[in-house]
């Protein structure tokens, strides 16, 4: 059951000229959210934009074990993300959630590789925690344009997540896309039981899903479609998936997803 919370901004940390992490007092949502789920947000005071925008739950905030809220990792690209970037402590953000189908969690001895492109890092903080609490070995394969756009590395490392990096300019880790370290790992780990989780731009997801299936590994990808409602009401967020009969049809990624099996999706 999603709820709508008029959440106060607890803190807003700028990570770069475009990225910020905003903490919101929405404990009801934080408590109920499973890794991979999202919230639909709208700055309460602003009359524009008209529609909410989807954001993954990044972290669940705890003080002395009590859940206080959640954070969003946001990259500035337009109206809402600019408002989030500039939000002040105390501002109110309407926050509807949790929404969508979360990641399927695996069981040991399988291990988890989380492949993140850019702001696609967002769902993996909570996923890492959930997997680790089941005793899963977790690797983060994380790419960005440059090392200055790689965030929260220590967060993952101190929690024992193995971190592999790729940057397009070679300033950290492999030069190139995230598929470079991913393929190397897939080649090296042919004997291990691996679930590939991915979140990032769609071309990346497609490449990751193809690589995974080429190496016989299952994958779960979290897609980002333009969403009008997040609840299955508008049919804006559709993505083509395979039919049983070999054809394809559109499903609403807000309720059938945002997480899909990589094999399910019909890539362009």
């Amino acid at each position: 059951m999603p709820v709508d919370v008029e959440a106060r901004v607890i803190s807003n940390t700028r990570l770069s000229p475009d990225y910020n992490v905003i903490a919101l007092a929405a404990p009801e949502i934080a408590r109920a959210a499973a890794p991979g789920q999202f919230v639909m947000v709208k700055p309460a005071q602003a009359s524009a934009p008209l529609l909410r925008r989807p954001f993954s739950v990044f972290e669940v905030l705890r003080t002395n074990g009590r859940i206080e809220g959640l954070t969003l990792l946001s990259k500035r690209i337009g109206t809402t993300t600019n408002l989030l970037f500039n939000a002040a402590v105390g501002d109110v953000i309407s926050c509807l959630g949790p929404l969508g189908r979360p990641f399927d969690l695996i069981d040991p001895p399988a291990e988890a590789w989380m492949v993140a492109g850019g702001v696609g890092l967002a769902p993996f903080a909570t996923l890492a925690e959930a997997l680790q609490s089941r005793g899963i070995n977790v690797t983060l394969i994380y790419g960005a344009r440059t090392s200055r756009e790689l965030f929260y590395l220590d967060w993952f490392r101190t929690r024992g997540v193995r971190v592999l990096l790729a940057t397009e300019d070679g300033s950290s880790g492999d030069r190139g896309r995230v598929t470079v370290p991913l393929e190397r790992e897939l080649q090296a780990a042919s004997d291990r039981n691996v679930m590939v989780y991915a979140c990032g731009p769609e071309p990346m997801l497609e490449a990751v899903a193809h690589l995974a299936s080429r190496y016989g590994r299952p994958s779960q990808v979290s897609v980002e479609r333009v969403m009008g409602c997040g609840l299955g009401g508008c049919y804006s967020c559709v993505i083509p998936v395979r039919n049983d009969n070999g054809g394809q049809h559109y499903v609403r990624s807000c309720i059938a997803g945002p997480v899909f099996s990589g094999e399910e999706i019909v890539w362009d």
Partner: protein, 311 residues
Amino acid sequence: MGLTDLSVKIGSLTLANPLIAASGCFGYGVEYAGVVDLSHLGGVAVKGLFLTERQGHPPERIVETPAGMLNAIGLQGIGVHRFIKEKLPELRERRATVIVNICGSTLDEYVELSRILSDAEGVAAIELNISCPNIKEGGITFGCSLHGTFDVVSAVRKVTRLPIIPKLTPNVTDVASFAKASEDAGADAVSLVNTFLAMAIDVETRRPKLSNIVGGLSGPAIRPIAVRMVYDCHRAVKIPVIGMGGIASAKDVLEFMIAGASAVQVGTANFADPFIWSKLLDGITEYLNRHHIPRVSDLTGTVDTGVHAAH
């Protein structure tokens, strides 16, 4: 407070209150069962249905515009048969007042759809979508021709006793004449407005922002035009007018009713706030109490143009 009567009549149908979820903006209703008690709504107009399943248009299907949005969903849907089998039982169980929005490519399809729905249990009314701007075969040819409108309504009238509500397009010169044609053909009510045919272009790529090139504009942006059209239609016909277009607050509901609507639909605003319904009901009730108006239906068409006409 409890004494306020929020019920309204649409022909033979009594709605618990004037708030109807607009077609295409509330899925098949069941999607919203987790956030709204469907029996608390005046009615639920489900997503437009054809006889058979439809894929709809490829993405992008929506784009936000100033105080509005464009959509070109292309009427993706499961078709009337699956609707009756898969969705109607749950809607019935949840005691929703179900208004089925139907679309056809031909007059016969509207007739066939209406016949099928008349035999289904739990359908309260049929809304004839002759106004979808996004697909060529979505009845817009009927909706833009007075004869077409008259013919499709008369033909459906012959096969059903369910209330029929033609949904009118605002993309015409004189919408009131379409309300009149609907009334003459035996409609129980008319609903308006559907969306305005519109377009947005990404100037960097010079491509339309919607895959379908054009789409339908909805949301607060269109409200003043929609209110005017409801006002025009209310003066032209005796049957009830169901108003919509950009309703986002109780004040907007009241504005439409005062202009001439007997009930209203809410579309786009439900996307931004799925919990809007109780807020609207509270606002309406507060207004009625403050103004000592016992029945919400007393508001319909009470706009006071008198003093101004004197000028």
